[in-house]
Symmetry: C2
Subunit: 265 residues, 2 copies
């Protein structure tokens, strides 16, 4: 039986196999080269796929890594959380260093820690922090051009901060959801939106209980439209009420987005 | 007559053509994609070539950009200096912003300034600063992996600083010259070598009047061999006296090297 057959059978059995230990992982990656986090059929280059491939060689059996979220193609992570059930005769530090040795240099496992049998990186997550990075200035960000979005125009910070206040809190974010056929609840809670400037860099930092498909990128696009004077900060209320994606602003490119942190109890 | 024919004729005439104004440029670039600074036959991707191509479209005539130095393939620059004679009806800021608009996003022109007719970026340069960046730690430098060299072992800072003292000053650096058939003088003056540590990063900063082919990368490789205990700091004296490339240490990879600054009177 080939490895891919083994793996398919394993996945069909939905992990009924007994696995010795559940581990929590923290992972940093440059998403530029990847078709996102999650392994999909026909998408060879995913971060999850790269990590699973190394773990499978270590365990000599198929493994399934569960990420806290599914970052899109081109989106980066400073500390994605994940969990995996493994049966290997190695301590946590050995697993981590082995992973880092065999993973490509744009993926780094920051931490491997034993977790309780029932820990699930996605279901148990209670909050995430995302940062969207923009650059506006007379020069070009030569050395971090793959991690920022260059703006053609300078946005008004005050207007954006005012608009962000309307978006903070628990709302139906259907207007900011890239999946217009979403059947589940589109209600989410944003704990804070911080907009800061450091020289030519403008950072949008979002903390919340969870984010919808494309939500951070659409929020940032909409806030920038406010900053450019194309919308008023006050119009955010009507926009939330509209529950209609086409009323919101543009989808910012993936490269400026970074998952900073995933929180658990 | 085609553009490339025009250009060839122009280059053969060695710039006898009258050009209205000499400009000094400061340029920052990520060297990863390039076959170095200098245009060579058959090497399409050079930083000089990219800049000349944009300037030629602006001037409607062939132009020749003279760089202060010739960084190798894969070497970066924070502020390469160059000069160019141009006949364009634009002010300095217009030239700069036009260049940045049409140059790829890994090259940025920081400054365009009128210079005296006789200013020559290479001949008039009186000093340069290069920095070589290394990384040693349990994690991997995911987001700046293209600008550092990852070390497998931790070098001893004290030993390296001691060795650097022997190399500072005016010496014949033939042992550190990558061009073993060099006919001109291999005497150079290193004003200072600073070796600093910032978390997992180790920086080697060299200031000097000029550097030979591969000199900074061979110096760094040799200092690291001292740091790893494979050579003594005191052996630097004999190494300088040997005037023999094969006695010196390994050539560090290009990606860790960055031209920081070029000095003029």
């Amino acid at each position: 039986m080939t490895f891919s057959e083994q793996r398919r059978i394993f996945q069909e059995r939905k992990f009924e196999l007994a696995m010795n230990q559940n581990y929590k992982l923290l992972i940093s990656y440059d998403g530029t080269r990847y078709h996102g986090w999650e392994t999909k059929p026909d998408a060879e280059m995913t971060v999850e796929g790269k990590i699973e491939a190394v773990l499978e060689r270590m365990a000599g059996a198929p493994v399934h890594v569960i990420g806290a979220g599914r970052t899109d193609a081109g989106v980066h992570a400073r500390a994605m959380a994940a969990n995996v059930h493994l049966d290997v005769a190695m301590d946590e530090e050995e697993i981590r260093s082995r992973l880092n040795r065999y993973l490509p240099d744009d993926i780094c496992v920051l931490e491997v820690k034993k977790a309780s049998e029932r820990f699930h990186a996605r279901y148990n997550s209670v909050g995430k922090t995302y940062r969207y990075s923009c650059y506006y200035g007379p020069l070009k960000p030569v050395f971090d051009r793959k991690y920022v979005c260059v703006l053609e125009q300078e946005p008004d910070m005050k207007r954006m901060k005012k608009a962000a206040e309307y978006l903070t809190g628990e709302h139906d974010f259907a207007s900011f959801c890239g999946n217009t056929k979403m059947k589940k609840s589109t209600v989410r809670r944003i704990d804070s939106i911080e907009i800061t400037k450091n020289g030519p860099y403008i950072y949008f930092t979002y903390q919340g209980d969870g984010f919808l498909y494309h939500m951070v990128r659409i929020l940032t696009g909409t806030l920038l439209e406010v900053g450019f004077g194309r919308r008023s900060p006050e119009s955010m209320t009507a926009l939330l009420e509209a529950r209609n994606r086409s009323e919101a602003g543009f989808l910012m490119p993936a490269q400026g987005l970074c998952l900073m942190d995933v929180r658990y109890f």
